[in-house]
Amino acid sequence: MADVQAWTTPSAGPGRPELRAVPGAGAPKLKVDSLSFYYGKFKALDGVTFDIPEKRITAIIGPSGCGKSTLLRVFNRMYDLVPNSRAVGAVELDGENILSTRKLLELRQRVGMVFQRPSPFPMSIRDNISFAPRLLGWKNDRIRAAVEDSLERAALLDEVKDRLDDPATSLSGGQQQRLAIARCIAVSPEVILMDEPCSALDPIATLKIEDLMATLTRDFTIVIVTHNMQQAARVSDFTAFMLMNPDGRFGELIEFAPTADLFNQPQDQRTEAYITGRFG
């Protein structure tokens, strides 16, 4: 967290920290602006505002039910699957508003997602990765290249290169999750969303994934939701802490800061209570 040394003004509670204060953090990739989210009548998010820096790992932590997954699923419009759910406010990906875009498929290719349980498609390892590219009508050689490349980048190639045609389900849990990552980067997205990607894995597989994430930041902007504070601390450059508003019953952003700051000098009482396990 070399940047963080240079961090000068930690954010005061919610609101957007001065990203430019972080050298090398570059322009914000995702600008979340007073975002509220409704499941029908139920308000799950209220006035969330912060910027997600490019090519950095941003972790979202908070107690269960505070709206982490919801927030994440706004970024690739996954919530469209939920009937009469709606998002109010603005989320900009490189300046264009995600919420109002009608180009859903393109959006989801730009913003990939990795889920809690690795769900390998019921086909061979190779087909798992080439599935989307094929349907997107890529040329065969391009697809072949993509398979190689994404497996390589997902730190999985060595383990599977001589069994690419085995069913993906024959892989171990950790490998399956890395396969999911490979599958997701095969269509070369810009942002990768991860919803508790390790909560179904054992510590070793988890550390493997964490190392992988560290290397992936060279090319991708990563947003990870995790229950595991220590994990957020280990892997992320920035951390957003969310909480369910006790009276309003909706999730809100309590604090957003560079990870090292948040875990050493949290600005908000509630953040401190949570990370030190004195919460609720």
Binding site: Q230, A233, N264, Q265, E272, T276, F279
Partner: protein, 220 residues
Amino acid sequence: MPRLTFERELASLREALVRMGTLVESQIEAALDALRRRDGSAAEKVRNEDQYLNELFRQMREQVFMVISTQQPVARDLRYLMGLQWIATELERMGDYAVRIARMTGTLVALPDRPLRAEFGLMGELAIGQVHDILEALIDQNEPRAREVAARDNEIDRLYHRVFEDLVKEMGNGHVDTDGALRSVTLLLVAHNLERISDRVTNVAEDIVFLHSGQVVELG
């Protein structure tokens, strides 16, 4: 939620630290007492006691390790642990000063007796008072108090410089023999060590400020 185990660990650590503190205090007292009474055996005793202090320190450090590695504290908790450890280090060093003073007493006992000048008593009381009060500030987590205690440092410095000049003049007046010179130098070093003790107290005060506010400050 309270995190029972962790809290228990912290409590026992705090308590261990206080034990160290009181021991250090008594050590310094004993050393100065021996000096005043020119009591070689008492000085000897101080030197042996220090072993126990070091042992306490070792255990304390070990326990800090265990707490950090088993409880993964962060933020305030981690600061608190580290702070306790730093303070322990300072206390251990204070103990060393007490030992040095005792050693010098050993030297002085061998020399012809002379009345001890008042400043030493003053400085001793001041130092002990500082140690005592800083420990209180630590226990009831009283940050302003800590700052106040640290501020008393310059009082001791003033005395130290006075003693220093007087002794130098005395040696400079031309009719001191080797014993006299040795005595003066030794006393000078005693004063020096007392002054160092109060410097340590300042450090402790800084640590206390840190472990409560997380601010790194320069006191004194």
